[in-house]
């Protein structure tokens, strides 16, 4: 059997974490190629439904990246993300989907290395969890 290559959907905000990802690229930092980045204007734009739908349509993990608390371009967008993801993870666990498949973290525009490190860690974790089961994907 071929090696499991996780598919990870990554949502980044336009101002910090997307720029952080860009910096990782410009600085030629190596990180696993399993992520697909979707850029949002703010991590607060992310509806929890989108995360669930990503998992439902075959994403093995969802990584949500935003500005550090206090650095949000829209002042408090990431405050809401933090609260929403916390509730989302609870619901996922009750429904029987491993909440570790969803991770929220903060990456600033200057943290290219941190971006690479988070992606590497998360890919490793998802690889450990294995593919999202056929059960979840309808």
């Amino acid at each position: 059997m071929s090696e499991f290559k996780p598919k990870i959907v990554t949502f980044t905000c336009n101002w910090c974490s997307y720029a952080g990802a860009d910096l990782a690229g410009v600085s030629r930092i190596q990180y696993p190629p399993n992520i697909r980045i979707i850029r949002l204007m703010c991590s607060g734009r992310l509806e929890p439904e989108i995360v669930v739908k990503s998992l439902l349509y075959g994403a093995d993990g969802v990584l949500v990246l935003g500005c550090h608390i206090g650095d949000c371009h829209y002042i408090a967008g990431n405050h809401r993300t933090k609260k929403r993801i916390a509730i989302l993870r609870k619901i996922l666990s009750y429904l029987g989907i491993d909440p570790r498949r969803v991770r929220l973290d903060w990456v600033s525009a200057a943290e290219g290395d941190r971006f690479a490190q988070i992606v590497t860690e998360f890919t490793k974790e998802i690889r450990k969890l294995g593919p999202i089961s056929k059960e979840v994907c309808s």
Partner: protein
């Protein structure tokens, strides 16, 4: 018990303490919410069986008290309210869906049997006018059973339960706090028309998530469900989580803002683990 409610309602209407009383009316064996304005109607006022009183009136997308208060701004309205109705009123007032200042409550405490049937943790309003306070039921066997299950077992359990869904929207329609003007469950993007059962678990997830910091555990969704999906299990768990994470309980204090609508400075969050 019902005699006391009627007597009090009669008194309030006659003395002009209130202009009208919102309660349940029994007619030809059917129960429905009714606005009592005349004292001689009060013979048909009932308190049981339980029936949604404050749910959103779908064609106008508002609850009944909002609609009354919109046209009669100074009307004083009495409401025959159980514990859950009172919590719903508070939560609705918090979300600008009605004006609590113009509302007088006839608080009715549920009987022991009623509390047991709902496995309600708080089967009484703050001011009990009629009835005796009985202690709530703190734990729910459904919750314990779900928490004992492993993740794959939970998934199998909910896949079976949610596959029964016939998408009647009963849970949403009966819910006093499903008040969004544009309901996500009616948007093609999230819920496709003509698909049965609706995509698991998106349809129900949307309600679980939206109600996480609103649910007041009235149990109307579960009672409305024609196929018996144990929806309340998850709402109860979420209520518990919101209490833990944000030290917040829906339907308790009008002044306390809903945590998912505020920043971390306004409502701090405890760490998850």
């Amino acid at each position: 018990m019902i005699e006391e409610v009627r007597k009090l309602a009669n008194e309030w209407l006659k003395t002009g303490k209130v202009d009208a009383i919102l309660g349940l009316k029994e007619e030809d064996g059917h129960i429905a919410p009714h606005l009592f304005t005349k004292a001689d109607e009060l013979d048909s006022l009932v308190t049981s069986p339980k029936y949604p009183l404050l749910n959103t009136f779908r064609p106008l997308k508002r609850n009944i008290l909002y609609l009354i208060q919109k046209n009669h701004r100074n009307a004083k309205i009495g409401v025959v309210a159980r514990g859950c109705d009172e919590r719903a009123l508070i939560e609705l007032a918090k979300r600008d869906q009605l004006n609590l200042e113009k509302i007088e409550l006839i608080g009715v405490a549920c009987t022991k049997d009623e509390a047991a049937a709902c496995s309600c943790p708080k089967p009484y309003p703050r001011n009990i006018v009629v009835g005796e306070k009985v202690e709530g039921i703190p734990s729910d066997p459904d919750i314990e059973a779900l928490l004992k299950k492993s993740l794959p077992e939970r998934l199998a359990f909910w896949r079976y339960q949610l596959s029964k869904c016939i998408k009647c929207y009963g849970c949403r329609n009966a819910c006093p706090l499903c008040l969004c003007q544009d309901c996500k469950l009616e948007q093609e993007l999230w819920v496709k028309t003509g698909q049965l059962p609706p995509e698991i678990p998106i349809f129900h997830f949307i309600r679980f998530y939206h109600l996480a910091d609103r649910c007041i555990e009235c149990g109307e969704c579960e009672r409305a469900c024609p196929v018996g999906i144990p929806l309340l299990t998850i709402y109860k768990l979420l209520r518990r989580d919101v209490k833990e994470l944000f030290d917040y309980e829906a339907g308790v204090d009008v002044k306390q803002e809903a945590p998912l609508l505020t920043t971390l400075d306004e409502t701090p969050m405890r760490s998850e683990e």
